[in-house]
Symmetry: D2
């Protein structure tokens, strides 16, 4: 038997009934998904009751999955929603997967990343880059909720997962606890010496106020036919993406706008920061509101609309576009 003989030697040949290796366009198994705010809150609450937290090592975390994927929110990204009670600590550790935290609700937590300490309040975005030690503690009085995003699916498919824990629950803090923000936080003035940090982007924290200013100014720009007003968090040292493997976008949809559909490579997860709208993703129609999430698979046709005639919609988006662009795999179809 040819097949068996070949297999015994770790050979194979193309068979007529093999799934096609090459397709004219991407045919991902990931499907579009929509998570509603009420479902998120209810299930966060439910798992909170079921889970006994011990040693800070188990977390009240709701992962956003996909029926077409064995694991992960998209082929590259895992997003989850985390509920944090006052006093909770996440002990120091590091990993090759890049991560970020976008604060959905509450205030008073602080994180230490590579020895720098930043507050995390509603609307803030904090990165924990590949290889950076990180820990956090919730010092506030009320529970917080945030979005955790990791490119762990990407790092797993490339078989480069490293993880290291620390004996100390929290890292010692540098003399200047916000050194790199002092150096690069303005984005338009910088030290006269070269960056002293190994990480590609020195800047760890992007505060809400700075993001709101930027979006406000960007409203003057020619609107994008597919995305209205959209900005990418960037690396002040290079002008490139804030993280080399996870794209982070913030987007404003004007009242009443219905945007044109497009499709492109790369996968996305959207979080509705404010407003009510609709996104059509291939054959699915998602009617979303504040606090919702939805995901868009690679090469899926998608079009957004703001359903209100009076209020803006604000969307925070994470994606793997930097990977696609760096590897030369970005493709876009604007007229679909």
């Amino acid at each position: 038997n040819l097949q068996a003989d070949l297999q015994a030697l770790n050979f194979s040949i193309h068979q007529a009934d093999d799934p096609p290796l090459f397709t004219p366009v991407p045919k991902p198994t990931m499907v579009p998904c929509h998570w509603k705010h009420a479902d998120i809150m209810e299930n966060l609450d439910r798992i909170g009751r079921d889970i006994k937290l011990e040693h800070g090592s188990v977390r009240r975390t709701l992962r956003l999955g996909n029926p077409g994927l064995e694991y992960g929110t998209t082929p590259t990204i895992w997003a989850s929603i985390q509920f944090i009670n006052p006093g909770e600590v996440a002990t120091a550790h590091r990993h090759t997967a890049s991560a970020l935290r976008f604060i959905m609700h509450g205030k008073g937590a602080n994180t230490i990343v590579d020895g720098e300490q930043y507050q995390m309040n509603e609307g803030d975005l904090v990165f924990t880059p590949n290889g950076a030690w990180h820990d956090h503690e919730h010092l506030g009085d009320e529970p917080m909720i945030w979005l955790d995003v990791l490119d762990i699916s990407l790092v797993r498919s490339l078989e480069a997962v490293f993880y290291e824990g620390s004996d100390a629950p929290r890292q010692p803090v540098l003399n200047n606890p916000q050194a790199s923000f002092s150096e690069y936080g303005s984005g338009i003035m910088r030290p006269t010496y070269p960056s002293r940090l190994e990480r590609p982007n020195p800047l760890l924290a992007y505060p809400k106020a700075r993001m709101e200013d930027a979006i406000h100014n960007a409203a003057m720009l020619e609107p994008d036919p597919h995305d209205d007003t959209i900005l990418e968090f960037s690396n002040p040292l290079t002008g490139g993406p804030a993280n080399p493997t996870i794209g982070t976008f913030f987007q404003r949809l004007r009242p009443g706008i219905s945007l044109k559909p497009h499709r492109h490579t790369g996968s996305s997860v959207y979080h509705v920061v404010r407003g009510n709208g609709q996104t059509v993703v291939d054959d699915d129609v998602f009617e979303w509101a504040q606090g919702d999430f939805f995901s868009v698979p690679p090469w899926a046709k998608h079009a957004h609309a703001n359903r209100s005639d009076s209020d803006d919609c604000l969307l925070f988006q994470v994606n793997d576009f930097p990977v696609m662009k760096t590897l030369g795999l970005w493709r876009e179809e604007t007229d679909v």
Copy 2:
């Protein structure tokens, strides 16, 4: 039931019996493999007898697989060995997967890549970059054998597979059929105008004679404790890798040398161009000879040795190191 409820909403939570998402170091499912020259030749012959070639669309191609992977030679790369009879034509097509061809045996084929036409004879290396139209025809008198490598597993895991065929079996050839080689082939002199090509590396063909010269000169260098003399095919426009996603190395092991083991992220496939040697990969010991192939999984400890006291070994290696380095996922342990 919590699990079912969560699953219905595309949520999940961490379960005690989940396979661990994070591991201290990579734990790939890929295992080391070894393919012997005689097995390759016998099975190429065997499938040649079984397969009816029609319209050039089916090929006598032996894929190198891995028992730990659903498909592919490594988590990112597919290598296969192709047997080409005189007169055979591969019709023009293009795809987002990057590819290369290393000629193992024979002469007389020519390929057209983006309108440029190059001979393919034993020892030559030819790239068909992401998005480049390519076709070839074997105009010689004797069968040829070459190695085909694609990063299709990478492109599939990123869901960016595009494929397009052409109605014409072969592309029209440019007025200057080796334009980019005329411009960039010397590597140390170049046109005074910026590159007119969209592809990251203008240079498509790396002829055997140039490679042999380079390896000869590199023998003067301080030997690498893990790799003896090793060079990477490079992009004369940037000094970076010849292809953005597939690393291509050529390596010489001095007579009698036993190299130190090391381990690193990224996966490799080696082809023995000349000589007899041994490579230990974790718990496997591969005794290899000319015409063999073997593969090294991510983070596997490996050490090479030349088993001859009089003759060099020459190894051609393909890997995904450019991806690992570009994405910040390269890690190496030199003392293992």
Copy 3:
């Protein structure tokens, strides 16, 4: 006669009494200079009385010169102080020399640069890059004074001076009159499309408020032993200098600080924005106060001090350091 014969054929040979072509360290003819605020104001007033302004083509401009140079403030840079009456217009023109304007006093002028329109008020910094059309008009009620800086001496020594005037006094303004500020002004969020502008730095205007914020945050940094707290205006697209040929620094000296001397290649012009201090430049001691200017020649040893025990000094510096660094000619001696 050998000399005459050689000269007739455009040959020459080294003569014993030639000035030395090579010196162990730079021996510039430029000398340190100091201009006092009162002298500037008095002479601005004096030339204002003498000069009949016609068609906006002659300007009340006091050039800062150097007794060791045929022209220019330093070997590369011309700085001048300009007095502008309400209603004055500078008609549209462009040149290869890069320029900038730092507003020393007053408010109400606006400039159009490449079709973008920006206000110019005290403390603002506006660039008119190489090749950019620019004009301005003073729409305010009171006279203004600003600092004009050009790298015209550099461009002259490289024989690349181009100048073009326009028939129209002022340029038409773009629909979005601050387009590039809307895109890149935040420095940490940017459009998702590549820059659409040819100029190396899209950002033309650096408002006072943003600069003050940055300096305030930088005060947390480890002080520089030679410069205390110092930041460079940067290009948000590249992380490099705001202008490719003119460096622009803003510096704060703590009350009472006496900094260590150093020397380096490149030449500088300093403007005292606030405070009282002293700078020793080789054998010169400059006691400066608000509104003063002083210049530091290449490789001159210099050390700054704040003479007040209670108030900060703020210095705005222009220099040619980007040229020195780009061309590999930056050298520094920190222990002098």
Copy 4:
């Protein structure tokens, strides 16, 4: 007296009779020059008789000057022709000015640059980069003649001249005396580790044979209307110019070709390696032959022609185009 008062305070104002600071296009004082082979040889011989060489510190060197410049061959470059007798040594030294040597005649000299040792024979090009220690010795039997080029005029105008001599006449040679050539000489294969050298271009020597190959292959290219076939010596690590401040071109003019005139910023010195031709530079017509030199000022209109109907002309050109391009001052007019 206003002028005197201003001058006393290092102020100046624009005067009606000042030479214009800005001109519509460059108006260099440099004029086109032509040096004939016979004049070079005669005067090399003549100064050889007059000059007593002592301690290797004085050299038989004929500088190419310009009647419009106080010193230098162009505003940035000094070229000179050097006659070297067997046994002569140039003792080790280094300087910030970049230099190169193009061997016009003879063989047998060797140079040590940063510890690497290279032969210098007719047609070879060797760089001594900014800051690199260099020395040489003529070990052959017959006199040699070579072209020396330095960007000393550029470095002087930027006031960054540093010079350091060594007590030892010659440097010790590295274990691998051609280490960087072993690493980067092929231009299309390179070490797998990052460059270990501080200098921007690791490659010091460009042998004649490699250059001839490159020019031969480039003859297939679409001819340039102004330069026929022209290549630039490049940095294999970056694809940029071989030296960051001195451009080095090699050019072939087909038999009988009369090229179109153009003009551009930057200044050039040409050496006729082979053939007979004509170059019109503004109002000058230079009829040149093998061994001649001629210079082209910035923005001068120039057009080359090969005067032979049967033989190629080969021209070696040095220029400051990399400086002009790096600083954004490159301008070209192709239709003049």
